[in-house]
Protein backbone atom coordinates (compact mmCIF):
# COMPACT_ATOMS: atom_id res chain seq x y z
CA UNK A 1 0.00 0.00 0.00
CA UNK A 2 1.24 3.48 -0.82
CA UNK A 3 2.36 5.53 2.16
CA UNK A 4 -0.60 7.36 3.63
CA UNK A 5 -0.33 10.71 5.35
CA UNK A 6 -1.55 11.13 8.93
CA UNK A 7 -4.51 13.09 7.62
CA UNK A 8 -5.47 10.28 5.25
CA UNK A 9 -5.20 7.69 8.01
CA UNK A 10 -7.29 9.84 10.36
CA UNK A 11 -9.95 10.27 7.66
CA UNK A 12 -10.05 6.52 7.08
CA UNK A 13 -10.39 5.94 10.82
CA UNK A 14 -13.20 8.49 10.99
CA UNK A 15 -15.11 6.55 8.31
CA UNK A 16 -14.69 3.34 10.31
CA UNK A 17 -15.69 5.00 13.57
CA UNK A 18 -18.80 6.42 11.96
CA UNK A 19 -19.83 3.07 10.53
CA UNK A 20 -19.02 0.90 13.54
CA UNK A 21 -19.87 3.19 16.44
CA UNK A 22 -21.88 6.06 14.97
CA UNK A 23 -19.18 8.62 15.78
CA UNK A 24 -19.54 12.01 14.07
CA UNK A 25 -16.48 12.36 11.76
CA UNK A 26 -16.13 16.02 12.84
CA UNK A 27 -15.33 14.82 16.38
CA UNK A 28 -12.38 12.68 15.28
CA UNK A 29 -9.11 14.41 16.18
CA UNK A 30 -5.72 13.20 17.44
CA UNK A 31 -6.34 14.30 21.02
CA UNK A 32 -9.68 12.51 21.38
CA UNK A 33 -9.90 9.43 23.62
CA UNK A 34 -11.88 6.54 22.11
CA UNK A 35 -13.63 5.63 25.34
CA UNK A 36 -13.88 9.01 27.13
CA UNK A 37 -14.59 11.39 24.26
CA UNK A 38 -16.00 9.27 21.42
CA UNK A 39 -17.99 6.78 23.53
CA UNK A 40 -16.45 3.74 21.82
CA UNK A 41 -16.81 0.78 24.23
CA UNK A 42 -14.36 -2.12 24.47
CA UNK A 43 -16.21 -4.37 22.01
CA UNK A 44 -16.79 -1.57 19.49
CA UNK A 45 -13.03 -0.91 19.79
CA UNK A 46 -12.42 -4.49 18.61
CA UNK A 47 -14.69 -3.87 15.62
CA UNK A 48 -12.81 -0.65 14.83
CA UNK A 49 -9.48 -2.50 15.05
CA UNK A 50 -10.66 -5.35 12.80
CA UNK A 51 -11.94 -2.86 10.22
CA UNK A 52 -8.70 -0.84 10.46
CA UNK A 53 -6.60 -3.98 9.90
CA UNK A 54 -8.55 -4.67 6.73
CA UNK A 55 -8.50 -1.09 5.47
CA UNK A 56 -4.86 -0.27 6.19
CA UNK A 57 -3.30 -3.74 5.83
CA UNK A 58 -1.77 -3.71 9.33
CA UNK A 59 -1.86 -6.18 12.23
CA UNK A 60 -3.09 -4.83 15.55
CA UNK A 61 -2.82 -7.60 18.19
CA UNK A 62 -5.19 -7.60 21.20
CA UNK A 63 -2.30 -6.72 23.53
CA UNK A 64 -1.71 -3.57 21.51
CA UNK A 65 -5.36 -2.47 21.49
CA UNK A 66 -5.16 -1.44 25.16
CA UNK A 67 -2.36 1.02 24.29
CA UNK A 68 -4.40 2.78 21.63
CA UNK A 69 -6.16 5.24 23.91
CA UNK A 70 -6.56 8.18 21.54
CA UNK A 71 -7.17 8.68 17.84
CA UNK A 72 -3.58 10.00 17.64
CA UNK A 73 -2.23 6.73 19.16
CA UNK A 74 -4.06 4.73 16.49
CA UNK A 75 -2.93 7.01 13.65
CA UNK A 76 0.70 6.69 14.80
CA UNK A 77 0.45 2.91 15.12
CA UNK A 78 -1.03 2.55 11.63
CA UNK A 79 1.50 5.04 10.21
CA UNK A 80 4.37 2.84 11.45
CA UNK A 81 2.60 -0.08 9.74
Amino acid sequence: MAELSRDEIREGLADILEEVAGVNPDDVADGKSFTEDLDVDSLAMVEVVVAAEEKFGVKIPDDEVANLKTVGDAVSYIEKG
Binding site: L43, M45, V46, E47, V49, D62, V65
Partner: protein, 316 residues
Protein backbone atom coordinates in the same frame (compact mmCIF):
# COMPACT_ATOMS: atom_id res chain seq x y z
CA UNK B 1 -29.01 -49.36 12.01
CA UNK B 2 -30.17 -46.19 10.24
CA UNK B 3 -28.52 -43.99 7.64
CA UNK B 4 -28.83 -41.10 10.05
CA UNK B 5 -30.72 -39.62 12.95
CA UNK B 6 -33.20 -36.83 13.40
CA UNK B 7 -34.51 -34.66 16.20
CA UNK B 8 -38.09 -35.72 16.99
CA UNK B 9 -38.90 -33.58 20.03
CA UNK B 10 -37.61 -30.86 22.32
CA UNK B 11 -37.97 -29.62 25.87
CA UNK B 12 -36.49 -26.97 28.13
CA UNK B 13 -36.46 -25.77 31.69
CA UNK B 14 -35.51 -22.50 33.33
CA UNK B 15 -35.55 -21.83 37.06
CA UNK B 16 -38.34 -19.59 38.32
CA UNK B 17 -36.18 -16.90 39.84
CA UNK B 18 -35.48 -13.95 37.52
CA UNK B 19 -32.45 -11.74 38.09
CA UNK B 20 -32.90 -8.40 36.32
CA UNK B 21 -30.24 -5.85 35.43
CA UNK B 22 -31.64 -3.57 38.12
CA UNK B 23 -31.13 -6.37 40.66
CA UNK B 24 -27.49 -6.63 39.52
CA UNK B 25 -27.04 -2.87 39.81
CA UNK B 26 -27.66 -3.27 43.54
CA UNK B 27 -24.88 -5.88 43.78
CA UNK B 28 -22.08 -4.43 41.61
CA UNK B 29 -21.24 -1.13 39.90
CA UNK B 30 -23.35 -1.53 36.75
CA UNK B 31 -26.63 -0.39 35.20
CA UNK B 32 -29.38 -1.65 32.94
CA UNK B 33 -28.17 0.70 30.20
CA UNK B 34 -24.56 -0.53 30.47
CA UNK B 35 -25.53 -4.22 30.35
CA UNK B 36 -28.06 -3.89 27.52
CA UNK B 37 -25.67 -1.87 25.35
CA UNK B 38 -22.65 -4.15 25.96
CA UNK B 39 -24.18 -7.63 25.89
CA UNK B 40 -27.90 -7.25 25.11
CA UNK B 41 -29.12 -9.10 28.19
CA UNK B 42 -32.23 -7.84 30.04
CA UNK B 43 -32.64 -10.66 32.55
CA UNK B 44 -31.47 -14.17 33.38
CA UNK B 45 -32.78 -17.10 35.42
CA UNK B 46 -31.09 -18.26 38.59
CA UNK B 47 -31.34 -21.79 40.02
CA UNK B 48 -32.15 -22.32 43.69
CA UNK B 49 -29.29 -23.03 46.09
CA UNK B 50 -30.18 -26.74 46.29
CA UNK B 51 -30.99 -27.12 42.57
CA UNK B 52 -28.19 -29.00 40.81
CA UNK B 53 -27.27 -29.26 37.14
CA UNK B 54 -28.81 -32.75 37.10
CA UNK B 55 -32.10 -31.36 38.43
CA UNK B 56 -32.24 -28.80 35.61
CA UNK B 57 -31.32 -31.51 33.08
CA UNK B 58 -34.06 -33.85 34.34
CA UNK B 59 -36.75 -31.18 33.96
CA UNK B 60 -35.79 -30.42 30.34
CA UNK B 61 -35.29 -34.09 29.47
CA UNK B 62 -38.64 -35.12 30.94
CA UNK B 63 -40.40 -32.54 28.77
CA UNK B 64 -38.53 -33.64 25.64
CA UNK B 65 -39.39 -37.28 26.39
CA UNK B 66 -43.07 -36.47 26.93
CA UNK B 67 -43.15 -34.49 23.69
CA UNK B 68 -41.63 -37.45 21.83
CA UNK B 69 -44.50 -39.78 22.66
CA UNK B 70 -41.98 -42.36 23.85
CA UNK B 71 -41.36 -43.73 27.31
CA UNK B 72 -38.16 -44.19 29.31
CA UNK B 73 -37.94 -47.78 28.09
CA UNK B 74 -37.50 -46.52 24.52
CA UNK B 75 -34.30 -44.58 25.28
CA UNK B 76 -30.96 -46.39 25.11
CA UNK B 77 -28.54 -43.44 25.23
CA UNK B 78 -28.30 -40.31 27.38
CA UNK B 79 -25.74 -37.61 26.64
CA UNK B 80 -25.44 -34.53 28.84
CA UNK B 81 -23.36 -31.51 27.86
CA UNK B 82 -22.31 -29.43 30.84
CA UNK B 83 -19.34 -27.41 32.02
CA UNK B 84 -20.76 -26.53 35.43
CA UNK B 85 -21.76 -29.84 37.05
CA UNK B 86 -19.97 -30.02 40.41
CA UNK B 87 -20.73 -33.73 40.88
CA UNK B 88 -18.40 -35.76 38.68
CA UNK B 89 -19.27 -39.32 39.70
CA UNK B 90 -21.80 -40.59 38.96
CA UNK B 91 -21.95 -38.36 35.93
CA UNK B 92 -24.99 -36.20 35.22
CA UNK B 93 -26.22 -38.55 32.47
CA UNK B 94 -26.54 -41.44 34.96
CA UNK B 95 -28.39 -39.20 37.43
CA UNK B 96 -30.79 -38.09 34.72
CA UNK B 97 -31.36 -41.64 33.49
CA UNK B 98 -32.06 -42.85 37.02
CA UNK B 99 -34.53 -40.04 37.72
CA UNK B 100 -36.41 -40.69 34.48
CA UNK B 101 -36.41 -44.48 34.87
CA UNK B 102 -34.24 -45.14 31.83
CA UNK B 103 -32.87 -48.54 32.77
CA UNK B 104 -29.66 -49.36 30.91
CA UNK B 105 -28.63 -46.54 28.59
CA UNK B 106 -25.19 -45.63 27.36
CA UNK B 107 -24.65 -42.60 29.62
CA UNK B 108 -22.08 -39.92 28.82
CA UNK B 109 -21.25 -36.42 29.98
CA UNK B 110 -19.55 -34.18 27.44
CA UNK B 111 -17.56 -31.11 28.38
CA UNK B 112 -16.62 -28.81 25.55
CA UNK B 113 -18.02 -25.77 27.38
CA UNK B 114 -20.31 -23.61 25.26
CA UNK B 115 -20.20 -25.93 22.22
CA UNK B 116 -21.11 -28.95 24.37
CA UNK B 117 -24.60 -29.52 23.04
CA UNK B 118 -23.44 -29.77 19.42
CA UNK B 119 -20.64 -32.19 20.40
CA UNK B 120 -23.18 -34.22 22.41
CA UNK B 121 -25.65 -34.26 19.51
CA UNK B 122 -22.85 -35.51 17.25
CA UNK B 123 -22.10 -38.35 19.70
CA UNK B 124 -25.72 -39.46 19.65
CA UNK B 125 -25.95 -39.12 15.87
CA UNK B 126 -22.84 -41.28 15.36
CA UNK B 127 -24.00 -43.90 17.85
CA UNK B 128 -27.29 -44.20 15.99
CA UNK B 129 -25.56 -44.32 12.58
CA UNK B 130 -23.31 -47.22 13.64
CA UNK B 131 -26.18 -49.08 15.31
CA UNK B 132 -25.00 -48.74 18.91
CA UNK B 133 -28.10 -46.76 19.88
CA UNK B 134 -31.63 -46.42 18.57
CA UNK B 135 -33.04 -43.45 20.42
CA UNK B 136 -31.11 -40.92 22.50
CA UNK B 137 -31.79 -38.08 24.89
CA UNK B 138 -29.34 -35.23 24.35
CA UNK B 139 -29.31 -32.52 26.98
CA UNK B 140 -27.46 -29.26 27.61
CA UNK B 141 -27.70 -28.18 31.26
CA UNK B 142 -25.89 -25.51 33.21
CA UNK B 143 -25.85 -23.84 36.58
CA UNK B 144 -23.36 -21.15 35.60
CA UNK B 145 -24.31 -19.01 38.59
CA UNK B 146 -22.40 -21.57 40.69
CA UNK B 147 -19.19 -20.73 38.79
CA UNK B 148 -19.80 -16.98 38.55
CA UNK B 149 -17.61 -14.45 40.35
CA UNK B 150 -20.28 -12.13 41.77
CA UNK B 151 -17.65 -9.45 42.49
CA UNK B 152 -16.56 -9.24 38.84
CA UNK B 153 -18.80 -6.66 37.19
CA UNK B 154 -17.56 -7.50 33.69
CA UNK B 155 -18.62 -11.15 33.87
CA UNK B 156 -21.34 -11.60 36.51
CA UNK B 157 -23.88 -9.80 34.32
CA UNK B 158 -23.50 -12.42 31.59
CA UNK B 159 -24.48 -15.77 33.01
CA UNK B 160 -27.66 -17.67 33.78
CA UNK B 161 -28.95 -21.17 34.52
CA UNK B 162 -31.14 -23.48 32.46
CA UNK B 163 -31.42 -26.62 30.38
CA UNK B 164 -32.63 -27.78 27.00
CA UNK B 165 -33.07 -31.29 25.62
CA UNK B 166 -33.91 -33.18 22.46
CA UNK B 167 -34.88 -36.75 21.63
CA UNK B 168 -33.04 -38.12 18.61
CA UNK B 169 -33.90 -41.33 16.74
CA UNK B 170 -32.83 -43.14 13.62
CA UNK B 171 -34.15 -42.16 10.20
CA UNK B 172 -33.58 -43.52 6.71
CA UNK B 173 -34.73 -40.28 5.08
CA UNK B 174 -31.59 -38.33 4.11
CA UNK B 175 -33.65 -35.13 3.88
CA UNK B 176 -34.48 -35.28 7.58
CA UNK B 177 -31.15 -36.54 8.87
CA UNK B 178 -28.91 -34.39 11.06
CA UNK B 179 -25.99 -33.26 8.91
CA UNK B 180 -22.41 -34.40 9.59
CA UNK B 181 -20.96 -32.32 12.39
CA UNK B 182 -18.30 -29.71 11.58
CA UNK B 183 -16.20 -29.36 14.69
CA UNK B 184 -12.81 -28.36 15.98
CA UNK B 185 -10.96 -26.17 18.42
CA UNK B 186 -8.22 -23.56 18.81
CA UNK B 187 -6.27 -25.01 21.75
CA UNK B 188 -3.52 -22.39 21.44
CA UNK B 189 -6.14 -19.84 22.51
CA UNK B 190 -7.39 -21.92 25.47
CA UNK B 191 -6.39 -19.39 28.09
CA UNK B 192 -8.92 -16.79 27.00
CA UNK B 193 -11.84 -18.58 28.72
CA UNK B 194 -11.17 -20.45 31.95
CA UNK B 195 -12.78 -22.14 34.93
CA UNK B 196 -9.86 -23.68 36.79
CA UNK B 197 -9.07 -25.25 40.12
CA UNK B 198 -7.26 -22.23 41.53
CA UNK B 199 -9.86 -19.75 40.25
CA UNK B 200 -13.09 -21.77 40.04
CA UNK B 201 -15.06 -19.01 38.32
CA UNK B 202 -15.56 -18.15 34.66
CA UNK B 203 -12.76 -15.78 33.63
CA UNK B 204 -12.49 -14.56 30.08
CA UNK B 205 -10.57 -12.12 27.93
CA UNK B 206 -13.68 -10.51 26.47
CA UNK B 207 -12.08 -8.57 23.64
CA UNK B 208 -10.12 -11.57 22.36
CA UNK B 209 -13.15 -13.84 22.48
CA UNK B 210 -15.24 -11.18 20.74
CA UNK B 211 -12.66 -10.79 17.98
CA UNK B 212 -12.38 -14.55 17.48
CA UNK B 213 -16.14 -15.05 17.37
CA UNK B 214 -16.94 -12.16 15.06
CA UNK B 215 -14.08 -12.74 12.60
CA UNK B 216 -13.35 -16.51 12.54
CA UNK B 217 -16.70 -18.26 12.91
CA UNK B 218 -18.72 -17.17 9.87
CA UNK B 219 -16.64 -19.30 7.44
CA UNK B 220 -17.02 -22.31 9.76
CA UNK B 221 -20.78 -21.81 9.83
CA UNK B 222 -20.75 -21.74 6.02
CA UNK B 223 -18.91 -25.10 6.16
CA UNK B 224 -21.69 -26.50 8.36
CA UNK B 225 -24.26 -25.51 5.74
CA UNK B 226 -22.05 -26.96 2.97
CA UNK B 227 -21.78 -30.32 4.71
CA UNK B 228 -25.57 -30.33 5.03
CA UNK B 229 -26.05 -29.48 1.36
CA UNK B 230 -28.08 -26.44 2.37
CA UNK B 231 -27.46 -22.85 1.33
CA UNK B 232 -27.20 -20.24 4.08
CA UNK B 233 -30.09 -18.34 2.49
CA UNK B 234 -32.28 -21.46 2.64
CA UNK B 235 -32.11 -21.71 6.43
CA UNK B 236 -35.36 -21.20 8.34
CA UNK B 237 -33.48 -20.47 11.56
CA UNK B 238 -29.99 -19.94 12.93
CA UNK B 239 -29.44 -20.88 16.56
CA UNK B 240 -25.91 -19.95 17.65
CA UNK B 241 -24.55 -20.19 21.17
CA UNK B 242 -26.08 -17.30 23.09
CA UNK B 243 -22.83 -15.70 24.20
CA UNK B 244 -23.51 -12.01 23.77
CA UNK B 245 -26.07 -10.29 21.54
CA UNK B 246 -23.34 -8.28 19.82
CA UNK B 247 -21.46 -11.47 18.96
CA UNK B 248 -24.63 -13.04 17.55
CA UNK B 249 -25.34 -9.93 15.47
CA UNK B 250 -21.68 -9.62 14.48
CA UNK B 251 -21.68 -13.18 13.13
CA UNK B 252 -25.09 -12.82 11.47
CA UNK B 253 -23.90 -9.69 9.65
CA UNK B 254 -21.26 -11.79 7.85
CA UNK B 255 -23.70 -14.47 6.68
CA UNK B 256 -26.11 -14.32 3.78
CA UNK B 257 -29.34 -15.24 5.60
CA UNK B 258 -32.69 -14.70 3.91
CA UNK B 259 -34.97 -12.06 5.37
CA UNK B 260 -37.25 -14.80 6.70
CA UNK B 261 -34.50 -16.61 8.61
CA UNK B 262 -35.06 -16.42 12.37
CA UNK B 263 -31.87 -15.68 14.29
CA UNK B 264 -32.26 -16.85 17.90
CA UNK B 265 -31.74 -14.07 20.43
CA UNK B 266 -32.89 -15.83 23.58
CA UNK B 267 -29.87 -14.36 25.37
CA UNK B 268 -31.98 -11.23 25.99
CA UNK B 269 -34.11 -13.14 28.50
CA UNK B 270 -31.83 -16.01 29.54
CA UNK B 271 -28.27 -14.66 29.58
CA UNK B 272 -25.40 -16.89 28.54
CA UNK B 273 -26.14 -20.46 29.66
CA UNK B 274 -23.14 -22.13 27.95
CA UNK B 275 -23.99 -25.66 26.73
CA UNK B 276 -27.67 -25.13 27.57
CA UNK B 277 -28.06 -22.02 25.43
CA UNK B 278 -28.63 -23.62 22.02
CA UNK B 279 -31.14 -26.34 23.03
CA UNK B 280 -32.91 -23.83 25.29
CA UNK B 281 -33.24 -21.24 22.53
CA UNK B 282 -34.12 -23.95 19.98
CA UNK B 283 -36.84 -25.47 22.15
CA UNK B 284 -38.45 -22.07 22.71
CA UNK B 285 -38.25 -21.22 19.02
CA UNK B 286 -39.92 -24.46 17.96
CA UNK B 287 -42.49 -24.19 20.75
CA UNK B 288 -43.48 -20.74 19.46
CA UNK B 289 -44.51 -22.49 16.25
CA UNK B 290 -42.85 -20.15 13.78
CA UNK B 291 -40.67 -22.78 12.12
CA UNK B 292 -42.28 -25.21 9.67
CA UNK B 293 -41.85 -28.92 10.25
CA UNK B 294 -38.94 -30.19 8.16
CA UNK B 295 -37.40 -26.72 7.74
CA UNK B 296 -33.59 -26.53 8.11
CA UNK B 297 -32.17 -25.03 11.31
CA UNK B 298 -28.44 -24.45 11.72
CA UNK B 299 -27.04 -24.96 15.23
CA UNK B 300 -23.60 -23.63 16.09
CA UNK B 301 -21.83 -23.74 19.44
CA UNK B 302 -18.54 -22.03 20.28
CA UNK B 303 -16.63 -21.06 23.39
CA UNK B 304 -14.21 -22.38 26.00
CA UNK B 305 -11.36 -24.36 24.54
CA UNK B 306 -11.77 -22.60 22.17
CA UNK B 307 -14.07 -25.28 20.81
CA UNK B 308 -16.75 -25.08 18.17
CA UNK B 309 -19.22 -27.44 16.52
CA UNK B 310 -22.32 -27.20 14.40
CA UNK B 311 -24.82 -29.11 12.33
CA UNK B 312 -28.08 -28.60 10.46
CA UNK B 313 -31.17 -30.28 11.87
CA UNK B 314 -34.71 -30.36 10.54
CA UNK B 315 -37.50 -28.85 12.61
CA UNK B 316 -39.51 -31.72 14.15
Amino acid sequence: MSIGSRVISLGHYQPEKILTNDDLAKMVDTSDEWIVSRVGIKERRIAAEDEKVADLAVRAARQALENSGHGPGDIDMVVVATVSAKDVCPNTACRVADELGIATPAAIDVNTACSGFEYALAQADMAIRIGSAERALVIGAEKLTAVTDWDDRSSCVLFGDGAGAVVVEGTDDPELAISPVVWGSEPSMSDVIRIEEDVPYIKQAGQTVFRWATTQLAPLIEQVADRAGVKINELAAFVPHQANLRIIQGIAKRLDFSEDCVVAEDIVYSGNTSAASVPLALSKLVQDGNIASGAPILLFGFGGGLTYAGQVIRCP
